[in-house]
Amino acid sequence: MIAAFVCALQLLACLGYGGLVLRFTDCQSTLRADEQIAWALGLGSGIIGWLVFFLGIGSLFHETAFLVLLVVGACGCVVIKDAVVTCGRDVLAWQPDRREIFCLGVIGVVAGLFLAGAVVPPTDADSLAYHFHLPKHFMSLGHLEFIPRAADGAVPMLAQMAYLPVYGLGGEMGLTLWVAANGAIAAFLLFTLCRRYLSTTWSMLVTLLFITVPAFVYGAGSGQVEVRISIFVMIAAFSLAAAIETGMLRYAVLCGIAVGFFMGSKYTGLLFALSCGIVILMQKRWLIHGLVLTVVAVLIGSQWYIWNAIHTGDPVFPMLFDALRDTVNYRHWDAQQNRLFVDQFLTSERIFETTIADFFRYPVAATFLDLEGLEASRTGLGPFGFVAMPFAVFFLWTSRDGFEKNALFIVTALSLVFICVWFFAGSPQRVRHLLPIYPVLLLAISMMAYRGASIVSSSVILASGIIATLLIQVGGTMFFSFSTIKDLIHGTQRAQFFSARVTNYAPVQWINESLKPAGRVYIEQRELAYLIEAPVFVGHGVTQNLIRAHDRNVDPLKLRKQLLNQGITHLFLPTSRLRELPFSELVTTGCIKELKVFESETRQSRTLASNNLKTGQTGRYSVAALLGKTC
């Protein structure tokens, strides 16, 4: 109950802070009432994440500070109350026809499934490893801490900062409800934007297409940031289009704010900023608009880059290692580690070469082939792009004159520029990384397909394609939620719930019951970080250099020193690792004492949780103590 109240309070605070941004940038009056609410919610979630960073710097991560932050934000709702009242009146006066009621019913079912996912504990591996673990860790410290780990430690965390108030005040369920609420904000924002170009029924269909694509289903209920970033992208794209269409500076300011939020949430935000910069230069007022957008985006989005630079000298740690190694003292990184990181981590995330031919192969593979590394089936973007393509081509062929003046042309151009920049920059190529740009593209292609279908009198055929896509996607969403709902109906306990979904939950329970919280546990199975109550150190052979436990040639005494330097008191590792160098030497000399061995079963799938218990592969894991003095 408290969790739901806190989540509602944070939504009100978003509305307030976002409303203030719309008021101060003088954009409020140009938006419809429902758009004002959607934009305010989206901008507000960014503002909260941005402000919480400064609370962390000032060691103010505690309940009182969060409460003040949210109450002050909620007070800002006065600036947007007229829009709320108008929107409420419109909803009450709305008399939906049969098609709208049907779409509303399907949206209600999907929303119910998301809600079911929001009231159970989180189990997504990335969320447990850092999206949720780091806010939990910062909350326990009371302040921000620099994590010198590439890819999931020293990264922009504006979106995750917005998790802290709900976690601090509402606990775990506050957190899971908030991420689900974020999904609802993204869906509502897309719906309001669709209504600019499409009927209510079509707007609801497009929204349904968005909220049931596998990448959304996977990401919206977890701590993954792509869904949250999609909100910033929609605001940035349509502000950019308005800036170019009207020539007004206020839209460039709003676009800069949203771009800054994306930059502060993920490194790919830098590529999005570059894409916005390229598009805004293609107009008459390119200089002033470009300058304003750049200055605002840097002001808003630079906090995490400055944070990284202060701690390592590298604002995008460790990406600039080769360029800065002679001028910057890389305390947490060296040439050997960088080679490992580039060869084993970055390269493994790049399935296609950055060539023109592969650029055109990518969308086909990302839709139809379940290639390892792309994760196109489980977390892809569905088939609608290809379903709608010929209809959109008809529209472009017959109506190309004048389309370049349309705002949708500008947002489509921005999306395509971003995809080009993203692909040719050699970014990780998982399909879900494109989710932030997907709603904008979906809206553009849907509008074009809708018009194209009318030209060739094929609206029924397009509608059939949409229904077929929705049948697959809604079916997939139900399949994804099935095990969660089964556990909710059976009243499965928390421990049982994790046991069925997370490998090695039994040792976690033992560690939580047996080890003193003053110690620190070295783990390599990163998703256990959130579940272990004692502080943890996540060891990784490629993304961190503080403890080189993966290097079999490392001097055991040096490894012991590295472990002690990080305050490690216990280790949780596969038993076989303790029998191999360098750990075996420390076990032989009595520096490491094995405390307990567990038979472990691998949990391969959260969706097929009941199958996990029958088919899990077994292995042995050990909890061991690192003896500080006597060895």
Binding site: P383, V387, P390, S457, S458, I461, A468, T469, I472, F479
Partner: protein
């Protein structure tokens, strides 16, 4: 009119092709579900 019919037929065929090709990657999951409900 015949041209319109041809276009509509091609569009319908395209949609069937895309949806079918998309579903191929889910073959193991679809088969598992069909087995579970006793259809295969």
């Amino acid at each position: 009119m015949p041209l319109n019919n041809l276009v509509r037929t091609l569009l319908a065929a395209w949609i069937i092709f895309v949806i079918g090709a998309y579903l191929v990657q889910f073959e193991p999951i679809i088969l598992a579900i069909l087995r579970k409900v006793g259809l295969v």
